[in-house]
């Protein structure tokens, strides 16, 4: 049997025939990047390839990089291997990487969610024989409610604070989660204020044409009193900081898939937890895997052992692939 098209090395997922890596975690010559989160798009590679939509944020985060952009669905030949990028529905610009050589097709999912969020490009199943999948929430206890329902909870909480002349302060990662939440908010309730880290990403995405409501960045000389009833979006690390203290008595909230677990909710000790994730839930993972028609599944970050065991039990050939994804940003409740 011929060597497989993709292999798993200690630098990352590697295609020997095309001599490129996908989301490598050590510096390499050529890196195909699924999305801009820092556990996937790392600094130090010679050349980057990503969607046109993902590049502006990557440039903002990584500084000067040599990068090439692709449209979704556009193909590129790298050393005889056909590479294309397909929407992953995770954050704006995020992609799954499809790699093909002589009928052998692999898809590396990166991070993904299967339900549309109205902001980023909708997930698109891609048929393949080998599917490398994340499984951050690969346990049957993780099930997400429809976005509209959570948006209702979120806005009700905000409206409650606004009605009392208070503030609602929401912790969210500056890339992806923050914008998704913005998109879910009802701007009719009050002003929306942002932390500088969030606003920087907003600016970039607005410039690309993503539809975000109007926001105002919190500045040191801002007259906070004239903005009572506001909702403030800030990175989780800013929530307990000096920065947050100007919004006296603010009710705090946090949005993450982990908020589904009571223990984690309590550990965060924010006033409210909202179950919002940019990763697929249990049913989403199984549905995505099924729609690829792949027989060989490679779970990467998340509850890999348990998930692989289950997949094997229901008839797939699943093998856990250790990676260095996770441990950062959106899919890591611990980093917050």
């Amino acid at each position: 049997m011929a060597d497989p098209l993709l292999t798993f090395t200690d630098r990352g997922i590697y295609c020997p025939r095309g001599d490129f890596y996908i989301d490598p975690w050590r510096p390499v010559d050529r890196a195909v990047i699924t999305h801009g989160h820092s556990d996937h798009a790392r600094p130090g590679h010679r050349a980057y390839l990503a969607t046109h939509q993902a590049l502006p944020v990557m440039r903002h985060r990584l500084g000067e990089i040599t990068a090439q952009g692709l449209d979704y669905g556009e193909t590129l030949d790298i050393g005889g291997v056909t590479v294309s990028l397909h929407p992953a529905g995770h954050i704006p610009g995020s992609a799954q990487v499809r790699v093909e050589h002589r009928g052998e097709v692999w898809v590396v999912s990166g991070d993904y969610k299967t339900t549309p969020d109205g902001l980023c490009e909708d997930f698109e199943p891609v048929q393949c024989q080998h599917f490398v999948t994340e499984c951050t929430f690969g346990l049957p206890v993780f099930k997400w409610k429809p976005q509209a329902e959570v948006a209702g909870e979120l806005n009700a909480w905000w409206a409650e604070q606004a009605a009392q002349g208070g503030f609602a302060m929401l912790g969210a990662y500056s890339l992806g989660k923050a914008q998704r939440l913005l998109h879910m908010l009802d701007p009719g309730i009050g002003p929306i204020l942002t932390h500088g880290a969030v606003e920087a990403t907003n600016e970039i995405l607005r410039g690309q044409g993503y539809d975000l409501p109007m926001t105002e960045q919190v500045t040191p000389d801002m007259d906070v009193k004239s903005r009572t009833g506001a909702l403030i979006i800030a990175p989780p690390s800013a929530l307990g900081s000096q920065w947050a203290r100007r919004f006296k008595g603010a009710s705090t909230g946090f949005a993450s898939g982990w908020m589904r677990l009571r223990g984690v909710r309590r550990r965060r000790s924010t006033d409210r937890g909202f179950v919002v994730s940019d990763h697929a839930d249990w049913d989403g993972l199984l549905e995505a895997i099924k729609s690829t028609m792949a027989e060989n599944i490679y779970p990467t970050h998340g509850y890999t052992d348990i998930f692989a065991r289950y997949l094997n039990e229901i008839g797939y050939t699943a093998r856990v692939v250790p990676t260095e994804f996770g441990g950062d940003e959106d899919d890591q409740e611990t980093a917050a």
Partner: protein, 530 residues
Amino acid sequence: MKDFAALFTQIDQTTKTSVKTEALAAFFRKANDEDKLWCIALFSGRRPKRAVTTTQLREWAAERAEVPLWLLEESYPIVGDLAETIALLLPEGGETSNESLSFWVKELIALSQVDLDARKPRILAAWDRLDATERFLFNKLITGGFRVGVSQKLMTRALALATGQDEAVLALKLMGGWTPQTTSYHALIEADSPDADASRPYPFYLAHPLESAPDELAAPQDWQAEWKWDGIRGQLILRDGAQYLWSRGEELITDRFPEFARTVDFLPPGTVLDGEIVTWDGAAPMGFSTLQPRIGRKTVPKKLLKEAPVILLAYDLLEVGGEDLRDRPLHERRARLDTLLQDIPPEAAVRPSPVIRFEDWQSLADTRDTARAARAEGLMLKRLSSPYQIGRKKGDWWKWKLDPLTVDAVMIYAQQGHGRRAGLFTDFTFAVWKGNELVPFTKAYSGLTDAEFGQITTWVRKNTLERFGPVRRVSPEHVFEIAFEGIQASPRHKSGIALRFPRMARWRHDKPPQEANTLKDLQDMLALYG
């Protein structure tokens, strides 16, 4: 169940005691008598008889959720709670129920009386009719351990708010062996209770930790020194021929310590003592670990009573002959305490906590160094002229604890936490050197900041050498300073030692693993302090 679920959500969403109390009080103002009674029962550790086993629950839930049982079992430690795991797994039921808390509790009671075969369909039907939070609570009623951040004390305070009755009076009413089946809300709460006044405790006076040496407290002759015991602070009240024991949390714990039943035979009525409840081997305290099994138990098995008998080491006299002594200076209260207890026989289970004589601060510091041998945690310093104050007033009472023992150890195994710490590596095994070999000697779970736990979690994921179920062997790179309160010989452990209250005091980024301590170092400590 909707009202009770809403109450639970309110309580669960906040860390503020005042908000919890207000939410509970609002429930008590609004709910019907039967629901109130069950609410009181649940938050005071009473629950309906178990209708189904947890094994049955797991099987039925897995079947209903259409997942293999092993998958439920794997999810459980990550969620950290079986009732919650099941509630999260079950598919939406599609029906709703407007039935009350007591309806569902009674359904469970009824279930325990029907045939086994009849129970499953009724549990499944209940799951179908309850929403996610209600299901969780319903499952909690079955599995027990109804701990949701509401202590009996908090519940009592809320009840006091709602009824206008005195909190101490209510605490007394809630004592004893009642169940909702044997009483009514009216009989339990609304009816008069004649002995309420007799049981009322004084607020405790609490000491502050002394951060440095006591030199700045000025003249040593103005101070009284005692051992600082490692037990439970308690107030023993003898009035009207009965005795009442209160803990520092102002919880009435008379029933848990039957040892004090006979104090009424030896001490006059109108006596109130402040002291420390410790387990006692006839000559010295037996250590906190032997007291622990006694604390949570409302009824004490005979065997435990024999293995871990308690006494009160009394150090203050708050009332004598019915007279409140708290305004009198400590030296006077102490003299009267000594007189009161001088002839008391051992079966009274009350002894005076000795006063430690000293000339100067240096000699007292030397005494403090011997605290471990005396089975104490350090010293207490109390101003001789001080009245018995209320709460944490600074200045007159100081606790001067021993510094913990420490050892630098290498992390070799890591395991994920559960519940509040799901997803984080928080449980670690540490080792010291024996020649070229690393010998595990203790586990530790606490002491790091959330940021540090996050950092070590990321590191563990990348540096796992081997997996044994949930346990990961990690490369021996990181050194932590482990602090602990005591050390004992333990043949059950490979290292031959066991530590008391070990925790991670510091992450020694500055130390390479080669410089961690050795087993010999620990053995030397054992010889010195064991």
